[in-house]
Amino acid sequence: MAETHSLQDLQQPAVSSKVFIQRDYSSGTICKFQTKFPSELESRIGKQPFEETIQTLNNLYAEAEKLGGKSYLEGCLACLTAYTIFLCMETHYEKVLKKIARYIKDQNEKVYAPRGLLLTDPIERGLRVVEITIFEDRSIGSGR
């Protein structure tokens, strides 16, 4: 190659490590993640924004799993139409999941990417963990 480019310029920074926020099962099997602040993120992000993110996610998942009139009506309708309604209609849970995906994307853009972190939607992991990717911070040369 006639021109050399620094790898750093061309690619995203290398992944330093990953933190996994586990599920909080203290209230049963409802989808809830632990708000405990992992030590690996101490030097990257403050406790407040992190907890806020997790808390919002928990609230969104609680909304998705809520046993309300909406979900009941949806079930009745599905039953009456021999579940063919699912071919055209999106379920309540899926709607909230889309909302969550938008929220995570938004958080990544505004809060986490500037700090060298990246949230992964927990649905990709079967709602078992929230994966936070920590990127290397080459600018400071810490080699983390």
Binding site: D24, T29, E40, E42, Y93, E94, I123, G126, L127
Partner: protein
């Protein structure tokens, strides 16, 4: 339709809740799987078709057109639910990716305990899917998938019934029962009106359909009633059949009404497999923002340096340890009085030692060899019992610390001395702190020690090495996660956070122990001193135990509660599993080493007089210590719990008990170690009496009960765990060992360690 189709995957990603099957590319086609579903389909569709063709026309004429319409609607309902139950993804978890697994590393506990509404629930490691199964999740062997809220695998629909399709299965059963009733009833009506023309084709067909309906009605109605009860109680078939909540409390129930509404009215759960992968186009580029260090954080950092850490240690040892463990730079060694018992190095290793391992029995997942299925049920109750007995699991390290500090200022000194005395031995002593669950921490400590000592932790030298590596690794990661807020949960029941934190601490302990052991191992006197107190204490324990066979019942110390309960709660272990056999294949000398470590962990008081009885210890310890890196402990520990669960094992073989039944892993491991150690010691010393006494002792709960009374010259109950016996009679013990706590060894330095009940021991360094 429904019967013969195999699961085919690869459809485009969509969020539709309609059945979305997955391909099992490597699974061979098994035609036998499709026989039940084909038969079910045949009978259902065939019989109903005949009914509609032969019976319904006359009925609609004779009575009303509503009859076939009603039957048609019900049949449609049956078909729709049958289709959904058959083809819908039950809630399969996708396999965990490689990087998620790294945290658990090669060796990690087989079980993780989590508290759900105050009830300890065990999460098992799934070796196929490579994650800890969430509560109520189970791995279906037929489908080879972990299924969320696993109910059962239904052969009639050739599908697992899980969270997503349980509703359809339940409605299928209800509608099928209604359909069978309708078909049988209307057929009967037809026959009653055609008694004279019974030889007509229509009547014959109707009779045949009635027979089929009558035949299927009893099992279907029975199953329907069974599931109605399950739904009302909020249980899955799996839980009901395995008796998980028999006589206990179901943490997953919300009351009958809420349970029913959850099954029928909740929104359709999402699919995990085959989802559209969201394209992440977020640009992550340095420079990155950094959080501002607040004053609190700065103060914490100062504390972490250990300067003020010593001052806080007595108060909140766990917190201090956590902060230290997070430090990148090792704090300066604390003063001997304030140092954690037995720890001479002021670095993260100390923290790991201080942070005791979580009470989860360390059933290490030997991934290549371990067969999870065997042990699951067996261990369920055992572990659940044990877990339930240890509500304060996470708090134990801090409790130990606080108790130790509260009890005697010299306590730490002593444990510290013991640690110095015997490298690895001291470390276990430290971790035990004479309190609570030394048994649990022992395996991890020892494994950590061994892993530390052997640089090639992941060599194929044996399961022991492997287990060592895993232990240390797992504990390491766990130790790093210990959070300061851990405090609040310590006093209470075990929480998932605590579990993680505990395991972090444990890892650190393991890491710390390893260097200690390596330091101590080459040194013969250290080894000697390491081993001798163990032997002597063991022998004394054996002696005492024989004298007071039911002493373990007096264990009322809350710290030992779990040990006590675990001893009494589980039945004898099952036959060894393949993993166990693998462990058993380890050479015998490892046992001794194993016992050494384990025993030390339980008896952090290393009697100063140990050095005096050098004849035995060197023979006992020296040949073994250098060869074994303490790994056998890990392997053995997996086996040990099984043996230790039973309080009466007079005829129990010296082999490690099966893996399946561990109530108290650490206690069992301790018992195992003690048993073997004593056997060796008694064999060499000729104290056969002690051996026979030791045998049943080792099978008791963790062996600690018998240790404590035998050793303790202090009050019986608190001194259960680590008291040093002052009673003579154990042939092995030298005179020095049997002395009162104030006996001074003729060794070099003497460290004073205080065990439970205030008994102080002096350990020669």
């Amino acid at each position: 339709m429904l019967g013969g189709s195999s699961k085919s995957g690869g459809r485009g990603p969509s969020s539709s809740p309609l059945p979305h099957t997955v391909i099992q590319t490597s699974r061979p086609l098994r035609p036998s799987r499709y026989v039940p579903v084909s038969a079910a389909t045949f009978f259902l569709v065939g019989s109903t078709t005949l009914f509609f063709c032969f019976t319904c026309p006359w009925l609609s004429e004779r009575f009303s057109v509503a009859v076939p319409i009603y039957n048609g609607v019900i049949f449609l309902f049956v078909l729709a639910n049958f289709y959904m139950a058959t083809f819908m993804d039950p809630g399969i978890f996708p396999r965990a990716e490689e990087d998620e697994d790294k945290e658990d590393d090669f060796r990690a506990p087989l079980y993780k305990t989590v508290e759900i509404r105050g009830i300890q629930v065990r999460m098992k490691w799934c070796s196929t899917c490579r994650f800890y199964r969430p509560p109520r999740c189970s791995h279906c062997s037929v489908c080879d998938n972990c299924v969320e809220d696993f109910d059962h695998h239904c052969p009639w629909v050739n599908n697992c019934i899980g969270r997503r399709n349980y509703r359809y299965f339940f409605l299928f059963l209800l509608s099928l029962t209604a359909h069978i009733l309708a078909v049988f009833g209307f057929g009967l009506l037809f026959i009653l009106y055609h008694r004279q023309n019974i030889d007509r084709l229509h009547a014959i067909v109707t009779l045949a359909v009635m027979c089929v309906a009558g035949l299927f009605f009893i099992p279907v109605a029975g199953l329907t009633g069974f599931h109605i009860v399950l739904v009302a109680r909020g249980r899955t078939t799996n839980e009901q059949v395995t008796g998980k909540f028999r006589g206990g409390v179901n943490p997953f129930t919300n009351g009958c009404w809420k349970n029913v509404s959850h099954v029928l009215c909740s929104s359709q759960a999402p699919r995990y497999l085959g989802r559209k992968k969201c394209v992440r186009n977020v640009c992550v580029q340095p420079p990155f923002l950094r959080p501002q260090l607040t004053e609190i954080q700065l103060a914490a950092k100062i504390l972490d340096n250990g300067i003020q850490g010593d001052l806080h240690r007595s108060r909140s040892s766990l917190e201090m340890m956590e902060s230290q463990s997070c430090d990148s730079e090792p704090p300066p060694p604390p003063k001997p009085e304030l140092r954690y018992p037995g720890i001479t190095r002021g670095n993260t290793e100390e923290c790991s030692l201080l942070n005791k391992a979580p009470p989860t029995p360390t059933m290490y997942k030997y991934r290549p060899t371990y067969s999870p299925g065997k042990n699951h049920t067996a261990l369920t109750h055992a572990y659940a019992n044990q877990a339930s007995q240890q509500p304060g699991f996470c708090s134990q390290p801090s409790l130990d610390r606080d108790d130790a500090s509260d009890r005697t200022p010299g306590g730490r000194e002593r444990s510290e001395g013991s640690r110095e005395a015997g490298g690895g031995g001291g470390i276990p002593g430290y971790s035990l702190g004479g309190h609570s669950y030394p048994s649990f921490s022992d395996p991890t400590v020892l494994s950590g020690v061994t892993s530390g000592t052997s640089s090639s932790t992941h060599t194929s030298a044996g399961a022991v090495h492997i287990s060592e590596a895993t232990t240390s690794a797992s504990f390491k990661s766990l130790a790093n996660q210990t959070p300061p807020p851990h405090h609040t949960s310590r006093n209470g029941s075990l929480s998932y956070d605590n579990l993680l934190a505990g395991s972090d601490n444990f890892n650190k302990v393991a890491a710390e122990v390893a260097p200690e052991v390596s330091a101590g191992r080459p040194c013969t006197p250290a080894a000697a001193s390491y081993s001798s107190p163990f032997l002597s204490s063991q022998q004394r324990d054996a002696e005492l135990h024989s004298q007071s066979p039911h002493h373990h019942h007096h264990l009322t110390n809350p710290h030992h509660r779990f040990l006590h309960r675990s001893a009494s709660s589980t039945p004898p272990p099952h036959p060894p599993t393949p993993e166990r056999e693998h462990l058993l294949a380890l050479p015998p000398p490892h046992h001794h080493h194993h016992h050494h470590h384990h025993h030390h962990s339980h008896h952090h008081h290393h009697h100063s007089s140990s050095s005096s009885s050098t004849s035995r210890p060197p023979r006992f310890s020296t040949p073994h210590l250098p060869t074994r890196h303490g790994y056998p402990y890990r392997t053995r520990s997996t086996d040990a719990p099984l043996g230790s669960t039973s309080t009466t094992h007079p005829a129990h073989s010296p082999h490690p008990p099966p893996l399946g039944k561990s109530l108290s892993y650490s206690s069992a491991a301790a018992a195992e170690m003690q048993y073997r150690l004593v056997r060796k010691a008694s064999a060499s010393a000729g104290a056969n009496a002690a051996l026979s006494q030791m045998k049943p002792l080792s099978q008791t709960n963790g062996g600690q009960p018998f240790f404590s009374p035998s050793f303790c010259s202090a009050p019986s109950s608190p001194s259960h765990l680590l008291s040093v016996s002052t009673q003579p009679g154990l042939a092995y013990t030298g005179a020095a060992l049997q002395q009162s706590p104030t006996h001074k060894p003729q060794g070099n330095e003497v460290k004073k360690v205080t065990g439970l009940g205030g008994t102080t021991y002096e350990i020669s360094v």
